[in-house]
Symmetry: C2
Subunit: 388 residues, 2 copies
């Protein structure tokens, strides 16, 4: 096990109707002038925004608002939000939505406390401070409600890049599974795949003797495999939504990732896909992850066999462990398909002829990426080709 | 799943030699006048205390010290510590030791910010504030390094009572598995049993549809079952110690307990045992837990069958699930015995004739305790008798 620091100070407020406590918690965490940040009109139509505003008003909290966040959130709205915060002396940002809204809020929080261009932090500049961000989650997927990360797409070149720091962990997050009951099947499935990917990026590691995080990771995956089909078959099943919602948080606040190297190659390759085609992140991951797994499997057959046996319930083939390893990957693909997810380029609308462009914008050059297997540009090209 | 709040803001600093960073983190968390609290001379003999003091000195931090905490920590030293804190204007407490030292430190932290008797908080008085506590853990067991709890034995009547509040979560905890490599086998085994008990008190619940926390709980148990025998066979095996150390934290910071009712009857019954005979908490739990399980098993055979199959790898007996359930309990007993733990009164030095006294001091009267099955005084008596 590697040395590590783990810090997950977010106060989680989980359950039915908890969004009505938003004002109380903003007060507790010293917010006085709040920017409410959200996406499309769905939070207006559902009445959620109204309930949240009521809670803030009842607690005497000043607020202004900024909607319009799109999936794969863009830099343009972030710049607007930063300006708004500076002009209106905002000291607290409340994100009401899914991962895109939260990521956009985190970007605004960074920029509001910085004189330069917020994009600097997505290009490697060291993060030091940000406005406090809280969330009311409406979509189980990104894990941004508990994570230290944010991913933004810059409109200049459609570059999708991440920034990470402890100050980006939300001060509180309200998770009401009821709010996810109205999600369309496609978004529910994308969310499940995204959550699984967060676990799997950590699961495939070269760090030895990490039984505790292996077991926690497997537990999260087993939960998603059980609960996602229930939520698809019966969208208003509260219990399935609740299990998925908490699984999505622990999948990405690093509970199952501490003390071990993690990979993130599949995520990086997916970012090029969703940056170029504007497809859902989860759908892109359902395509990229099996391709990556097939390509790197031989690097550690027994880890893939463990994945197959413990997560997918495959019988261990003691004579030919590689058969078991491959079976695990196939089970993953079958599961993704059963959720209605694409698993190949064509189903996603991606084109083989764009592979050289994606390899280029990924920008590896002479460097490598990933940790489980260090991938060169040539490797990346072959993995994209496996996904065709 | 129940509504819940989850707040685990402790900054965890995990790995080899991390205790040398104690001063840095105390500074980060605004400590200026520190009470170093510890137990017997082992932290002196090992040189740990010296290294910690060096780190504080290098960071210009004032400190004073108070040793002498005993297992099942007593009120007497807590009163001494509180007086010391008030006299010396202490603003930060650093516990160097295991659960007993940390629990004693938390009690001092409560009393130092209170004009009355600290014991009030162990008799149900509402907690509002406490001095910040940090820990350097030397014994994997109690989970107090990440938990909101503290257990103290009052010398007036040897009453063992708990207090719980979010302000009692350590601000940071340094977990260096190397520090546990010198632990005697008996303490290592007691720690493993204690950690398992923290998970099992949460696992046996009437709350339905809690797959995510079920799976996380099972993952922690599977880890302990694998790693504890390795640590016993080879005490200096760093990797086993590391897995156990992190398992002990997640076992009790409520990662696997949120959203579900938990029980704690076995803990309460054990407190009477260790209060009366001054036996190790883990040893007492190894005796009380199987007795409790046998007594309540019929309340939910399928939950015990799940425990047997998923945690102990038993084959499910689909015709007679109660056989599987019973097998799980037997496996637990065999495992405890294999670690050198007692599983009956006699091995512990406890006496059947003291049962009426323990039932009485437990003080249920006409009330019940527990959640999975609500136990009356008569039930408690029968469970103690099953443990004879």
């Amino acid at each position: 096990m590697n040395n590590f620091n783990f810090y997950s100070p977010t106060y989680f407020v989980f359950g039915k109707e908890r969004e009505n406590e938003a004002g109380k918690y903003i007060k507790r965490f010293n917010g006085t002038r709040v920017l409410i940040h959200y996406g499309s009109g769905s939070v207006i139509k559902s009445g959620l925004l109204q309930r949240v505003k009521k809670s803030l008003t009842e607690n005497g909290i000043y607020f202004t608002e900024l909607g319009g966040v799109v999936p794969n959130p863009r830099s343009g709205l972030v710049y607007t939000g930063i300006e708004l915060c500076k002009k209106d002396k905002i000291d607290f940002i409340l994100a009401v939505g899914g991962g895109s809204v939260i990521d956009s809020a985190k970007a605004i929080a960074l920029g509001a406390e910085y004189d330069g261009d917020f994009w600097d932090f997505y290009c490697g500049k060291r993060i030091e401070k940000a406005l406090p961000v809280a969330t009311i989650l409406t979509l189980t997927a990104a894990g941004s409600e508990g994570s230290m990360g944010t991913v933004i797409t810059h409109e200049n070149g459609m570059l999708k890049r991440a920034a990470n720091h402890d100050v980006l962990r939300p001060v509180f997050s309200i998770l009401n599974p009821e709010l996810t009951c109205s999600l369309p099947a496609y978004q529910t499935a994308c969310g499940a795949i995204d959550m699984m990917a967060h676990v799997m990026e950590r699961y495939f590691t070269n760090t030895q003797n990490v039984e505790i995080t292996d077991r926690l990771a497997e537990g999260i995956l087993l939960t998603i495999i059980k609960e996602a089909p229930i939520a698809l078959a019966n969208p208003s099943n509260y219990e399935a939504r609740a299990n998925l919602m908490w699984a999505g948080m622990v999948a990405h606040n690093d509970t199952c990732g501490v003390g071990r190297d993690s990979d993130w190659s599949s995520h990086q390759m997916e970012h090029e896909l969703s940056g170029l085609y504007d497809v859902a992140h989860g759908a892109g991951l359902a395509v990229m992850f099996p391709a990556w797994m097939k390509y790197v499997m031989n690097h550690d057959i027994m880890r893939f066999a463990q994945f197959a046996v413990r997560v997918w319930g495959c019988e261990m083939n003691f004579q030919q462990p590689e058969e078991t390893a491959l079976q695990g990957i196939q089970r993953y693909e079958e599961f993704a398909k059963s959720l209605g997810m694409p698993i190949r380029f064509a189903e996603l609308g991606a084109k083989a002829e764009d592979i050289p462009f994606m390899v280029k914008t990924l920008g590896l050059g002479e460097n490598t990426m990933g940790s489980f297997v260090k991938l060169t540009e040539e490797d990346v090209k072959k993995i994209y080709e496996l996904a065709v």
